[in-house]
Each structure stands twice: as C-alpha cells, then as structure tokens.
C-alpha cells in the first residue's frame, strides 16, 4: 500500500515534467522567430526536480514517522518560477493527553520569485514564494487519558471505546509564504533550503476530535490559524537553452 503511494507520486511528478519539456520545444521554435526582432538575451529555461531530504532523515531518527516529499520547479519568465511539492506522510505522536496517528498526502502549487542577481550562466536563487496547499488525510486516535483534576483513583488510559477509531476523508487547504535559497553544488545538482509560514484557510475536522496535525501543513494549534514548516531539498536541473 505504502509502496503504491510512493510510485504514484514519482509517476505523477515525472508526468508533468515530460509534458513541459515537450511544450518548451514548441515554444523554442516560436521564440527563435521573436528573438530576431527583439535581439534580447534570453535566459535558459530550467526544470528542476528532486526531493526533500529532511523527511527521510526524520523517518530514520523517529520510528513513528514516515515521509516523502517530491519537489519541482520551472522558470516561467524572468525571475518567476512555477513550483510544486507532492508529499505523503504517516506520523504517530503523543500530544499531551492523546496519542494519535495521521496518514495522508498533500499537493502544493505556487510560484517562487528570485531576488538574487546571478552572474551569467549561474542559476542560484534567494527567493520568496507562495503556495496553495491541499491535504487529504485520515486521523486515528490510538489512546488517550481523560482530563481529570482529581486523581484519587489511578489514572486510566483509554485504549478501547467509541473514541478509539480512525476517521478518513478529511481535508485541509492553506496558503504558504516561503523564503528560501537554492545553491548549485556540482554540475546540475542543487541544494535548497526553505522555511514556510502557513496560513490555514479551512479544514474538515474529525468528529469529536481535531486535526492536531495536518500532512504538509504540520502542527495545527488551537489558538490560531498559523503554522510553520521547512524543507531541505536536493534537486537536479535540466537546462533548456533557447
């Protein structure tokens, strides 16, 4: 089941990449005609794709976490990049009184704007960006300790009962504000780091529970609609010269 999901992500990431390369070939031919008139130096189109390294590392350190995030971006025009992140997570955690497991997938679509002025031929970036995030997931309550002020009787942990259950078909939507860097390591390999401020727009909550964790959005607090995240990416770029 888990493997199927991983393959689904890899395939779904590759599909748009091949599709865009084909599209650019068409654009390439059109641009040649335009260039003879404008005599303007065009930067090469680049497609970058790769994965978030932090999630496999965290999965190694924490046996209650599994995560995979595939990332990709493409230069659309001047310093604007279209960007995508696809991920899958399974996380079991103890949140104060409740132990629960969140399983789900997410898709983030948006753009990055590069503020870094590259030398000719370089393609590093210090960027700001935005994403629309979508997550589809399920929440399972494993056990909990009812809130009691008096502890005369030994405190019981509820492991069976009507609230110990899994609720699926849950979803969440949010907006991300991103700041990050991308640096070329060797050849076409890039390392990237980004931090993200997330603003939750809406989420469907499980019955008699809450979305304490949302895949992609991360920890959701009671007090406000803001969350945070980061990723540490390794990407491979394919330059498309025009």
């Amino acid at each position: 089941m888990k493997k199927n999901h991983i393959w689904l992500f890899i395939i779904s990431l590759l599909a748009p990449v091949y599709w865009t390369t084909a599209q650019e070939l068409v654009e390439e031919i059109e641009e040649v005609v335009v260039d003879t008139l404008k005599k303007r130096e065009k930067k090469p189109y680049t497609i970058r794709f790769g994965l978030d390294l932090s999630k496999p590392v965290m999965a190694q350190l924490d046996k209650d976490f599994f995560g995979l995030e595939l990332v990709g971006d493409i230069r659309l025009f001047s310093e604007f990049y279209g960007a995508i992140e696809l991920g899958n997570e399974k996380k079991t955690q103890q949140s104060e009184q409740i132990n629960f497991t969140t399983t789900g997938s997410y898709l983030k679509l948006g753009f990055d704007y590069n503020l870094y002025e590259n030398w000719k031929g370089m393609n590093n970036a210090i960027y700001l960006g935005m994403r629309i995030g979508n997550s589809f997931f399920k929440q399972k309550v494993n056990e909990y300790e009812p809130y009691q002020i008096n502890h005369y009787w030994t405190t019981e942990i509820i492991k069976n009962g009507p609230e110990i259950r899994e609720q699926d078909a849950l979803s969440a939507r949010w907006v991300e504000f991103i700041a990050g860097i991308k640096v070329k390591m060797i050849n076409n390999l890039y390392m990237g780091f980004s931090i993200r401020l997330n603003r939750l727009m809406n989420d469907t909550r499980p019955d008699n529970f809450d979305n304490l964790y949302i895949p992609g959005f991360n920890k959701k607090t009671d007090e406000n609609v803001w969350g945070a995240g980061f990723n540490y990416t390794l990407t491979y770029s394919i330059p498309v010269k025009l």
């Binding site: 104060e96 009812p146 809130y147 002020i149 008096n150 609230e163 008699n208």
Partner: protein
C-alpha cells in the same frame, strides 16, 4: 523589507512558544459525583454528616473525612462501576455502608492541551448496596441521570 530580515522573521516564528500546550485552569474536567446528604424523616431538608470517612474499596488511603451536607466524589474512569465505603465514625458502634455506583461514560474532545473529558451516565440500577448489615444510610436517590458537570447535584443519600 530586505529578504534577509524577512528570512529571520520567519525563522523567529518557527521557534516561538505555544500557549496551547498547557491545559488552562478552569477548563471543565471530568466531573465528580455531587452527593447531597438529606434527612430521611423530612426528605425536603438537608441533613449534614459529621466525620464521615469515605474510602474507595480496594484502596488503602481514604478519600477524605468529611463533615457537611454535600461532597464531590470522583468516579472511576474506564470502569463500569465505582465502589465506596462510607463509615460514620462518630456513632458507636461505628456504622458503615458500602455502595457500588453503576455507570457508563462517553468522552468529549475539549482541546489539544486538555484532551478528552468524560461524562458519566447512571446505569439501571444505578447502585448496589454491598453491605448486608444495618447501616446508617436509609435510602438513596438519583437527582439527575447524567453527570456532565459539577454545578448541580447528582445523588441524594437519606439518613
């Protein structure tokens, strides 16, 4: 705003503290059972007890030695009953009654820090008298079926 300062601003928000990890005092918790002590001869009137020793059966320590006309007694979570021994230590010989309160529960989600709280419902019958001999308790009535908060009384003991 320069990109660098924005970067650090976002970094700051990442490591800021969160309030909602502490369950705030005053949040309604799992309610205790409020017991009223009433006069058997005049059921309308309250009749206080003096030095009533309350102890959960199977526990070494007593809950309290109580004087007054109403008390909050914790029920046992995750169990279908709670057993208590009520010993009137002022009488001689000391009179003792053991009761089993039968209940079921459902749990309601409050928030992240507090988790769930339980609400108890009295089963039918709602109690068993565990002691055979004559005690000090003459009659027991339930005042409400559901124990959802500690604002009103749930059980009346006539003596």
């Amino acid at each position: 705003m320069t990109p660098r300062s924005l970067f650090f601003l976002i970094l700051l928000t990442l490591f800021s503290c969160e309030k909602d990890d502490i369950c705030l005092e005053g949040t309604p918790a799992t309610p205790r059972m409020i017991v009223l002590f009433k006069d058997y001869e005049n059921p309308q009137n309250k009749k206080g007890v003096t030095k009533l020793l309350i102890r959960g059966l199977g526990l070494a320590d007593s809950l309290t030695t109580f004087s007054g006309d109403s008390i909050a007694i914790p029920l046992r979570n995750n169990y279908e009953f709670t057993q208590y021994e009520f010993t009137l230590s002022t009488s001689s010989p000391t009179l003792s009654d053991s009761l089993q309160i039968n209940h079921r529960q459902f749990d309601t989600y409050i928030n992240r820090a507090c988790g769930y709280k339980s609400t108890f419902i009295f089963e039918n019958p709602f109690y068993y008298e565990l002691t055979q001999s004559e005690g000090w308790i003459k009659n027991i009535e339930k005042i409400s079926d559901t124990l959802s908060d500690e604002k009103k009384s749930h059980l009346a003991i006539y003596h």
